[in-house]
């Protein structure tokens, strides 16, 4: 099976080399024959890659940004709907997390430490 595949691909390689100029058809031949992610990535991997190139992180893969949590600089919480649960670790190493729903609209404050949180609409590529 491998021999047949090798034969088929070597025939294909020999004929495409002659038909050269179209970079799309030669699949990375210009670069040496191995495609790049830019040429070949697909599906969610491609969406993530394209977004990262624009500096966006639609799937929240990176650590959230740090905010002061004050009225002027509230924690901005991205959400795909109109509310999201927030868990506030008021002081470092606290074991009791303060959970509450954060709703769209004015910034809310953590019932324990008073840090400000504001819901931010978050767009998902579909």
């Amino acid at each position: 099976m491998a021999a047949r595949l090798l034969l088929r691909s070597s025939i294909r390689a020999a004929t495409t080399c002659r038909a050269a100029p179209f970079p799309i058809l030669t699949r990375g031949m210009a670069a040496g024959g191995i495609p790049t992610d830019e040429e070949q990535a697909t599906g969610l991997e491609k969406i993530v890659m394209k977004a990262a190139q624009q500096g966006a992180d639609p799937y929240s893969m990176l650590k959230p940004k740090e905010y002061a949590g004050s009225k002027a600089d509230p924690h901005l919480v991205p959400s795909i709907t109109t509310k999201r649960i927030v868990g506030c670790v008021c002081e470092e190493d606290n074991t009791a997390v303060v959970w509450f729903w954060l709703h769209q609209g004015e910034a809310q404050r953590c019932p324990s430490c008073g840090s400000h949180y504001k819901l931010m609409p978050h767009e998902l590529p579909h």
């Binding site: 099976m1 491998a2 595949l5 090798l6 691909s9 699949r27 990375g28 670069a31 040496g32 024959g33 191995i34 495609p35 790049t36 992610d37 040429e39 070949q40 990535a41 697909t42 599906g43 969610l44 991997e45 491609k46 969406i47 993530v48 799937y59 929240s60 893969m61 795909i80 978050h122 998902l124 579909h126």
Partner: protein, 261 residues
């Protein structure tokens, strides 16, 4: 595309875990039946089901990653962790056989003549075929690294050449080791020397065959343009496994072939 707010892969329902579990049941019960009742039916069915499961499960993973793009960076990270943990478990597997070897060889019992190698055992010369085997595997480590760098640099022809060479070296090792097994002056039944020698080197040989197969699949995938210069984890996993096989051999060579002779 699924509507999810995360970059992880929620896998579709699959029958292969079930068929794999059934294969495991058939293999274990089949081995017992073979031992006691001399029938190979269950064992054969188990082997066929195992091969079918492996082929279809891994084919589905290739479809999900390469053709559907589900292997985003966090998913790939998980796959890396998975392969590393698996190889670690294999390290412990071999550690057991080395433990057995050193247990018997460091303090040889009176039944063996109080010496290692035991009385009457004609050992293999470590500087003949075993040394050649060492060179072969070390060379294959170089060629697989060459293949990796070729992929990263987008060099298709060199990748195919280097990967093919690696696989050929793997086959050469297996062939040489097969010849050694055939010509060896001792067998697995020759006391604890035979047991430790053939179980340790035998499992190593099995891992060489598995590693060669994994690399061969990578060669087929490379020819079919599956790998990109940035994303080629299947190849990396095969290369890690191959390096592990090489390292195990080095320990085997130094411990059993050289020190133990």
């Amino acid at each position: 595309m699924a509507h999810q707010a995360h970059a992880y892969h929620m896998v579709d329902p699959s029958p292969w875990p079930l068929t794999g579990a059934i294969a495991a049941l058939l293999l274990t019960s089949g081995t017992a039946v073979w031992f006691h009742f001399h029938s190979l039916t269950l064992l054969t069915m188990g082997n066929i089901l195992l091969l079918l499961t492996m082929y279809q499960w891994w084919r589905d993973i290739i479809r999900e990653g390469t053709f559907q793009g589900h292997h985003t960076p966090p998913v790939q990270k998980g796959l890396r962790y998975g392969m590393i943990l698996f190889i670690t478990s294999e390290v412990f597997f071999f550690l057991g056989f080395f433990w057995a070897f050193y247990h018997s060889s460091l303090a040889p019992s009176p039944e063996l003549g109080g010496c290692w190698p035991p009385t009457g055992i004609i050992t293999l010369d470590p500087f003949e075929v075993p040394l050649l085997n060492t060179a072969v595997l070390l060379a294959s480590g170089v060629t697989v690294t060459w293949a990796h760098h070729s992929i990263m640099e987008g060099e298709r022809k060199q990748t195919v050449q280097a990967l093919t060479l690696t696989i050929l070296l793997g086959f050469y090792f297996t062939f040489l080791q097969g010849m050694e097994y055939y010509e060896a002056p001792f067998t697995i039944a020759d006391g604890v020397y035979g047991s430790t020698f053939f179980v340790a080197t035998g499992f190593h040989g099995l891992h060489v065959i598995i590693g060669s197969t994994f690399l061969a699949i990578c060669l087929l995938r490379q020819i079919q343009y599956h790998f990109t210069s940035e994303h080629h984890f299947g190849f990396e996993a095969a290369a890690w496994y191959w390096h592990f096989v090489d390292v195990v051999w080095l320990f085997l060579y130094v411990s059993i072939y050289w020190w133990g002779s």
